[in-house]
């Protein structure tokens, strides 16, 4: 077992995209994040919130994984793209 294999067993590498207010606050559109196997979507948001100090609580957001809205209870898989969605304002 080399170091890479060992890494894979304990973390997941995901991509997070930011839109609207969250992009301003994170000051980027996209970031790569490594999370532990057991990290939930809630925990991921709290983790990123600690880093970026988002102005919105998780309760105001929806979440999308791989370009579909999902429930906050959805499991994160290695390679997933996660997006926290602030209230939309189209039309």
């Amino acid at each position: 077992m080399n170091v890479n294999d060992k890494q894979k067993t304990i973390t997941k590498d995901i991509t997070v995209l930011y839109f609207a207010d969250l992009a301003d606050e994170a000051n980027c559109h996209e970031e790569k994040v490594s999370i532990s196997q057991s990290t939930s979507l809630n925990e991921l948001y709290e983790h990123l919130n600690a880093r970026h100090h988002f102005s919105r609580p998780q309760s105001e957001l929806r979440v999308a994984v791989n370009d579909y809205f999902v429930k906050w209870t959805e499991i994160i898989n290695d390679g997933d793209q996660v997006v926290f969605i602030v209230p939309v304002a189209g039309g």
Binding site: L17, Y18, F19, A20, D21, A23, D24, A26, N27, C28, H29, E30, S55, A64, D67, Y68, F69, V83, I85, V86, P87, V88, A89, G90, G91
Partner: protein
Amino acid sequence: MENSVNSPNKEVQDTDVHRQSMRINRGIDEAYALAERDGFALLDVAIDERKLREMLDNDSCGAFVSFEGRVRNHNNATSVERLSYYGYEALAINQGRQIIEEAKQKFDITHAVAIHRIGALEIGDIAVWIGVVSAHRYPAFDACRWLLDTIKADIPVWKQEYYGDESSKWLRNNG
């Protein structure tokens, strides 16, 4: 929403982190082909209403209802110079396809097509276009209105207004 008013300096930075949300990843023809196939697409250029109407030509339909959301020169009492729309295209496409399918299940309509534009828009530009055809008139009205409400609630598109002093503000939908 005092804290959502950005200073002119902030805006330059904003443009950077939002740049990828102001363009679509597919070509214009591809976007129209998607609208024709799934009933929904994002576009980052002026909406060609005639192309969308052609998708809805149907001899069995007596009713055609359309809605155009245009950029207003004011929001409440504030004068607006221009507006930028930002979209999460891949999610918008997936969500839009489902919304069009749901409209066809909920209402007695034949077909529906909707397009949301993103990028920098001027006053009077069309931001969203929705067209519905049905045999009779009420389902077309009901479906068009429901589609608009649902698009405004569920399609991941956001907008920022720009004012005379180049300050800007993220908007919430207020009808």
